[in-house]
């Protein structure tokens, strides 16, 4: 059946979109097993909650679904299951793609505002159609009304954002609440109309996923196909709009029109999805897959693809779960599966995930601590090894620094200093024997290089930025760890122009020079 989705959509879609649809078509044959595994995996995640909820009610009749039930759902035997799976997966793909643009445009809650803003249109369409003697509840009228008022909502949001000093979030909030208020007021009137029963009109906007019909699925496929074609066709333009609106304007792109096109795609997807799967699921599908995809990559096209994949897989898994366990509502399950994916991505995403960023920061901190240690040792040894008239200190393997001498040089305690020393010892930069720390030759070279970078930057700040010598240490301390060889070269050139020594320049604080001769007595790291 999922392969069927490919046939229907592929014909309308240009070649560029084959990849994103490819993941749908691949899901058909070989991935069925994968899907089952993933379901099982997810099931274990969901089971404790299910069990907890079941335990709290004494007489619950929660039963483990039999293998027959699993098989029945996974082999798509029921017509209803097929329709729902097809509909939600295509919707997840379309919403994921459009959502990745709205997320980058900092309008993630656009779907929220628009789904509320469509209510007055629905009520109005019903009133007008009923007054004209037609069937007010026919899908065509209601969708038209919802689209019109959704577009009005977009216009209002853009007007508030572009013409007043209010920001996106206020524009969304105002449109959401005022339009929704108008819709509720109109519904209050609709309930008084005699000539037609309005029952079920509210449920139009709170649609139920499980009761999705084949017409809904067709509508979703058409709408998603349109959105995908437009988004891929205008990919470059939308990309530039998302990242640098001012630049896009200066290159002559019609930014207002592009904005309107993008927002119309949001309206299209939202309104079609809204009546099929309901308000909350629609909002979630516009936000969560895109936000999850953002953790995996820095490139827009990858992000869109990941977002489409997460949206599709989340929808399919959620729908399958809800079909297997009869009293889990499908819309809510899809949201929960998607947000489970979001948390996985947030933790383990390879580009911006929490784990990878923590790891990177740790590594950087460790490197910085090691560099501080090497420089502190170097500066401590310097006065002893420097000879009169000799500019740089020589390597002496027997010159030792005790840990208690190192401690007061920086704001580090034993707890941080000792692990740093041991880690440096493992990399053979130091030797550490009963409280004495010695340089190895490579450690000494490294320390000399660092000290040189530190002092080059200090000299640069003094010579070119007119910073007082007493203040340059902090600035150099921050930057010495990230100075690349090119910048060091540049610094050398600049300082050579000023006739400043570049061997290992003398510390401006008088380290390594007899104390009375120093321009600024005092330790550099005090």
């Amino acid at each position: 059946m999922i392969r069927g989705s490919r046939n229907t959509t592929d014909s309308d879609v240009s070649g560029r979109s084959v990849f994103s649809l490819g993941c749908l078509s691949n899901a058909g044959s070989s991935t069925l097993r994968l899907l089952a595994i993933a379901c099982l995996f997810l099931f274990f995640a969901a089971a404790p909650r299910y069990a907890a909820a079941a335990d709290s009610l004494a007489d619950t009749s929660a039963t483990w679904p039999t293998w027959q039930q699993w098989k029945r759902v996974l082999s798509l035997q029921d017509y209803n299951t097929r329709v729902v799976l097809l509909g939600v997966s295509v919707l997840g793909a379309g919403a994921g793609l459009v959502g990745s643009f709205t997320l980058l445009r900092k309008r993630a809650l656009m779907g929220d505002a628009l789904s509320h803003a469509s209510l007055p249109g629905i009520a109005m369409a019903f009133i007008i159609a009923s007054a004209l003697g037609r069937d007010g509840k026919s899908l065509g009228y209601l969708l038209t009304g919802a689209t019109v008022s959704g577009l009005l909502g977009v216009a209002a949001i853009l007007w508030i954002r572009n013409k007043t000093r209010l920001k996106e979030d206020a524009a969304l909030g105002i449109v959401l609440s005022v339009f929704f208020g108008a819709g509720i007021a109109l519904l209050g009137i609709v309930q008084q109309m005699q000539y037609s029963s309005a029952a079920g009109l509210e449920s139009f906007i709170y649609g139920k996923t499980a009761s999705m019909g084949s017409n809904d699925a067709k509508l979703i496929i058409v709408a998603s196909a349109i959105a995908i074609v437009v988004c891929l066709g205008l990919f470059k333009e939308l990309k530039i709009l998302c990242f640098d609106e001012a630049f896009a304007g200066s290159r002559g792109f019609p930014i207002v029109w592009l904005d309107i096109v993008l927002m119309s795609m949001v309206v299209l997807i939202t309104i079609v999805g809204l009546q099929a799967v309901g308000l909350i699921l629609m909002i979630a599908l516009m936000v969560i897959p895109a936000a999850a995809a953002r953790f995996w990559t820095h490139e827009l096209w990858r992000m869109s693809v990941y977002s489409v994949v997460i949206g599709t897989v989340g929808c399919v898994l959620g729908a399958v779960l809800s079909a297997v366990f009869p009293n889990l509502p499908s819309g809510a399950m899809i949201v929960l599966v998607c947000s489970f994916f979001f948390f996985l991505s947030m933790m383990f995403g390879t580009a911006r995930g929490v784990v990878i960023r923590t790891y990177r920061r740790r590594r950087l901190n460790r490197r910085i601590a090691r560099q501080h240690l090497l420089r502190a040792m170097y500066e401590h040894l310097e006065p002893n090894t420097i000879g009169a008239g000799v500019k740089s200190s020589r390597f002496e393997s027997k010159a030792a620094v005790t840990v208690s001498e190192l401690l007061p040089m920086r704001s580090w305690g034993w707890g941080r200093l000792l692990p740093t020393i041991r880690a440096a010892q493992e990399d053979e930069l130091l030797r550490f024997t009963d409280d004495n720390v010695f340089f190895t030759r490579s450690g000494f070279v490294e320390a000399a290089r660092l000290t040189r970078q530190h002092r080059l930057w200090e000299m640069y700040l003094i010579a070119y930025a007119d910073v007082a010598p007493g203040l340059v240490d902090r600035g150099a301390d921050d930057i010495e760890h990230v100075l690349g060889p090119e910048i060091v070269d540049q610094l050398e050139d600049l300082l050579e122009e000023q006739k400043m020594t570049v061997e290992i320049p003398e510390s401006p604080h008088g380290i390594g020079v007899p104390e009375s001769a120093g321009p600024q007595p005092g330790g550099s790291t005090s």
């Binding site: 909650r49 909820a53 009610l57 619950t60 009749s61 997320l103 900092k106 309008r107 993630a108 809650l109 929220d112 508030i160 013409k163 007043t164 000093r165 209010l166 996106e168 979030d169 206020a170 969304l172 909030g173 105002i174 959401l176 609440s177 005022v178 929704f180 208020g181 108008a182 819709g183 509720i184 007021a185 109109l186 519904l187 209050g188 009137i189 008084q192 109309m193 909350i280 699921l281 909002i283 979630a284 516009m286 936000v287 969560i288 895109a290 936000a291 953790f295 009293n327 889990l328 509502p329 819309g331 809510a332 399950m333 899809i334 949201v335 929960l336 947000s339 979001f342 947030m346 929490v354």
Partner: protein, 456 residues
């Protein structure tokens, strides 16, 4: 006249509706100012959706439908919404709106699953748990201190007082932490603490309000009055005061229009809370259009005046240059061509200049009807003494700027005209004198044309 036709049929019940509406609106609007300033306007919406699991959990734990456990459950989850949103935003570096979207949809879905589990046993409709109606809230009665009043009014009254006290007592802290959190930290109080205090109060207000009056009203009142008063003023204290008034006004207007407006179309009254939201929207629209400093219409009119003044400047400067080149004065069509002005604005500009006595029309007797300008033939306009003074100052500014741009900023000669054209309208006498001094009082501009002296 109109009043006679409107029979509001006002009863005590209506008074209570308005009072509850005002209390809800004011308590939300007080906090809403800071939500708008912190760009968290959607938080009200998020909280009202997200509290569902709190309600469901309270129900599952207490096995009762009494409102106190549900209230606490809802407030706790409301605060959690704000906490999670902030956590995801900070740790995951996700945009505020997106993290809000992730959190509240997930919580709502979780609540829905929990409710479905519970509904096997007891009928607990999410709609009836979540969405109260202001009309029925006004009917309930509770007796306190010998007076009978609706419990909703009591609760919202307390919430309003708490919020007002919070805003007044922590005004300085809120202000600084909203505009400059780093400054707040350096001044020795925690911006994060203020943030979470605000979030707790927002949750309490939201839950207390939507339990009695429905979520539409509270979501609207968190954003719309504050946004409207943001359009009216630049001072935070005024903004808060104005937002309170706007909130109260929209509550009153809302109830009135809920009764009156549907009757125009032959229906009974509609729901009050939603009409309050709509009238708040209407007030916002008015504020956005007519705000004295930032109103869209006001800004537009101001821009029109400015471009009109610039057109007048351009006309006299053009006439001056024509006199200088001795080419004879231009016709109206030539003016329109040169200045890219539509015929109507040109006509208005010429009429204004004539009224001020800066240009004159040959052959037309002074005091001739304005139509004479239209009828004037080619070469009919010329400058009067006053007009020539104004034109000389403009041309002098223009050429001094050109000279300055070439001498001091070494701009290419072919790129100076546009800049000078823009600066000349905003250059006054002291600035001209300084330009004159800086460029060593030149006689000619870079194009070789003479720079006129200040006085003829």
């Amino acid at each position: 006249m109109i009043y006679a036709q409107i029979d509001l049929n006002w009863q005590q019940h209506d008074t209570w509706i308005v009072v509850i509406g005002i209390l809800c609106a004011v308590s939300s609007a007080l906090l809403g100012n800071f939500l708008v300033l912190r760009r968290m306007s959607m938080l009200g919406d998020a909280v009202t959706h997200a509290v569902l699991p709190g309600i469901a959990a309270a129900f599952l734990i207490s096995h009762s439908r009494s409102s106190l456990p549900m209230f606490f459950g809802a407030v706790i989850v409301g605060v959690l919404t704000a906490l999670f949103t902030e956590w995801i935003r900070r740790v995951g570096r996700v945009d505020e709106g997106a993290s809000m979207g992730v959190v509240f949809t997930s919580l709502f879905a979780l609540g829905l699953v929990m409710l479905v589990q519970a509904s096997d046993h007891v009928d607990l409709d999410p709609d009836c748990v979540l969405y109260g109606a202001i009309e029925s809230a006004a009917i309930d009665e509770v007796e306190i201190f010998g007076r009978v009043l609706p419990p909703a009014a009591l609760i919202l009254g307390v919430v309003t007082i708490v919020n007002a006290l919070f805003v007044v007592l922590c005004f300085k802290e809120l202000k600084i932490s909203s505009f400059d959190p780093a400054l707040a930290t350096t001044m020795g109080f925690s911006a994060r603490l203020m943030h979470y205090l605000l979030m707790v109060l927002v949750s309490i207000t939201a839950v207390a309000s939507f339990e009695s009056v429905g979520s539409v009203l509270v979501v609207a009142m968190f954003v719309v009055p504050a946004a409207a008063s943001y359009m009216l003023t630049d001072r935070l204290a005024w903004m808060i005061v104005l937002s309170v008034f706007i909130a109260a006004a929209s509550a009153i207007l809302g109830h009135g229009s809920a009764i009156v407006v549907p009757r125009w179309f032959g229906f009974e009254s509609t729901t009050t809370a939603s009409m309050m939201a709509v009238s708040a929207g209407g007030l916002f629209f008015l504020a956005a259009l007519f705000g004295p400093k930032h109103g869209v219409l006001v800004k537009w009119v101001r821009r029109q005046f400015l471009s009109f003044r610039i057109l007048c400047d351009d006309i006299v400067a053009l006439l001056y240059r024509c006199e200088e080149r001795e080419t004879g004065s231009p016709s109206k069509a030539e003016l329109a061509d040169n200045l890219f002005a539509s015929s109507w604005t040109l006509w208005a500009a010429l009429a204004t200049l004539r009224r001020r006595g800066e240009i004159a029309v040959d052959g037309a007797v002074s005091g001739a009807v304005d139509g004479a300008v239209d009828g004037a033939v080619s070469g009919d306009f010329h400058l009067t003494g006053r007009g020539r003074d104004r034109a000389r100052q403009l041309v002098r500014s223009h050429r001094l700027w050109e000279q300055y741009l070439v001498v001091e900023t070494s701009t290419e000669t072919d790129r100076i005209h546009d800049k000078a054209e823009r600066f000349e309208h905003f250059t006054d006498r002291p600035l001209r004198d300084r330009l004159d001094r800086v460029t060593d009082a030149p006689d000619t501009d870079p194009h070789g044309r003479p720079i006129p002296s200040e006085k003829s």
